[in-house]
Symmetry: C3
Subunit: 138 residues, 3 copies
């Protein structure tokens, strides 16, 4: 069994951003040399998500509105977590979108359906944060 | 290390449906011959979910009402994703229920608690869609 | 490839509780002797979650309020699942928080970002329930 580990770093311009990181994960898979196995991609920070969905700008705007409605950023005082911090909503939004994805690796490729794309969902951005790619297989 | 891959195809009669696919996954595991490892089951389409919960008809109706309340299908015009399409709500519902499950394989069986059942949650049905089963182990 | 399996058992004092189980998972990893691989941690019961987020008491209270707002326990009669049972809300809350986490194992350790902690989220407690730890690797 082979294993491979790589960190990706992202610093987004806004508090909330949605980045298609599929090319970064594909590059990591190529570097790993693994042909058959499983690829874990997870946010290493707890106000961010890694998820799989469509790369369509209207949908991304819909996700952002919907998450803001489910767990609003303001008023900041509504959350007990917000003393020195103001990011409680980011912790909640990340649970809806998820921490991680596990993707099958088949024939050296991410084994995807036609529209699957891996996204980094940032809910407390404007600073450098990391994503872990861990691949095991042969 | 052994690896095994199988696609399952489902075409549901309604826009939203919830299918217990545990027997299909058990069959795939048997075909794989793998006794110890991990089994990934994921929707290959982005308006569908694979999740684990109870096979009880009242609960399934509760899930459907709850998801429709969290991310209503209508009015269609409330979502920017809905130009040529009308399935934005399905993309949102799928994030609540999740894309995938990872199940332990122990002694050649899906290593489940007493009530765990694997479901395919369809949120934009009435056409053929695929689920991927990928198993690695020995 | 090595594989390791361990069950953890928890009995929480309240209907809803949030336990940091990171030390239990670290102990299991040590017992496994696995240095590189993947570690699956999943609730074996369907009204409970395993998730990764911050161990901060204000945030845990925020999670509890937020989940109770998204899927209220009462009135019990609002859910069709609640005939002989009263835990439909627990099945819904668990979908928001998730069934499982998959954590990378690197250099014999849980490969975590700075604040990641593994929690057992209980939504129908006051009885013994199990969590499965399955680790594969080398």
């Amino acid at each position: 069994m082979k294993s491979f580990r790589k960190e990706l770093t992202f610093k987004t311009p806004h508090r909330r951003d949605y980045l298609n990181i599929t090319p970064d994960v594909q590059k990591a898979l190529l570097e790993s040399g693994i042909k058959e196995g499983l690829c874990l991609v997870n946010a290493m920070h707890i106000t961010a998500s890694v998820y799989i969905n469509d790369d369509e700008s209207g949908l991304i705007a819909d996700f952002d509105d919907w998450l803001e409605n489910l767990a609003p950023h303001e008023p900041i005082s509504q959350y007990r977590h917000n003393g020195a911090e103001d990011n409680a909503d980011g912790h909640l939004k990340r649970q809806v979108m998820g921490r991680e994805v596990v993707v099958a690796v088949s024939n050296g490729k991410l084994d995807f359906g036609p529209w699957e794309q891996i996204f980094y969902g940032e809910f407390d951005g404007r600073r450098s944060k990391r994503v872990l790619v861990k691949i095991i297989g042969e």
